[in-house]
């Protein structure tokens, strides 16, 4: 069965410092991995995805994520955090090897990022 874990409920970072939001996954085949961000009282916005190819994926707003197959991880990173990055971040996974019915997207529980001035 597919699953996603975001081990940290909250990550606190000072503005200007690098940030990392962690995500690990479990699928039976190869993963399709996604990061979404949710600002207060808004819907989720797509940040980036890994489908295949280069393990380092670059996305919106200066974010990037590194796919690590051996560690089954897809951590979200940014070299220099901004106060405006403060939001709720969701990792999601889909199993590319799934062959029956609808292959649904499984979301993690979310990590709240707080960037302090």
């Amino acid at each position: 069965a597919q699953s996603v874990a975001q081990p940290e409920d909250q990550v606190n970072v000072a503005e200007g410092n690098p940030l990392t939001v962690k995500c690990t996954y479990s699928v039976s085949g190869n993963p399709y991995l996604f990061w979404y961000v949710q600002y207060p009282n808004r819907g989720l916005q797509f940040l980036l995805k890994y489908i295949t190819g280069d393990n380092l994926v670059k996305g919106s707003y200066g974010f990037e994520a590194e796919f690590n197959k051996s560690q089954t991880s897809f951590h979200l990173k940014k070299p220099s955090a901004l106060v405006s990055d403060s939001a709720l971040y969701f990792c999601a996974v889909r199993d590319s090897g799934f062959s029956g019915g609808y292959n649904k997207l499984i979301f993690g529980a979310g990590t709240r990022l707080a960037v302090h001035p």
Partner: protein, 113 residues
């Protein structure tokens, strides 16, 4: 493009009442989805549709119904509201699956008292 739109933004229901949450997209996406978001629980898929006239259950379909008569619209119906249905509901769409990202509406905050 307006993207994915949802109405209403907020609603308070009494136990046993019914209502329909509206969702529309103008991106000509084939796939549409309904999720509910509960605090600390991530998103759970309620129903999805792979095209007009085709719908199927997700992880938590009990107490809900959907229809998809057009590509653009995907309403979610609550027949007999219960306190357990208090949640934030998001509609989403994607051109295809499984490689494509989903586009989300702004959400409907529903409280059942």
């Amino acid at each position: 493009n307006a993207g994915v739109t949802q109405t209403p933004k907020f609603r308070i229901l009494k136990i046993g009442q019914s209502m329909t949450l509206q969702c529309a997209q103008d991106m000509n996406h084939n796939y549409m989805y309904w999720y509910r978001q509960d605090p600390g629980m991530g998103l759970k898929l309620i129903y999805y549709s792979v095209g007009a006239g085709i719908t199927d259950k997700g992880e938590v379909p009990n107490g809900y119904n959907v229809s998809r008569s057009t590509t653009e619209d995907f309403p979610l119906r609550l027949e007999l509201a219960a306190p357990s249905q208090t949640s934030v509901y998001f509609c989403a769409s994607s051109y295809s699956a499984p490689r494509d990202e989903q586009f989300f509406g702004p959400g409907t905050r529903l409280t059942v008292l």
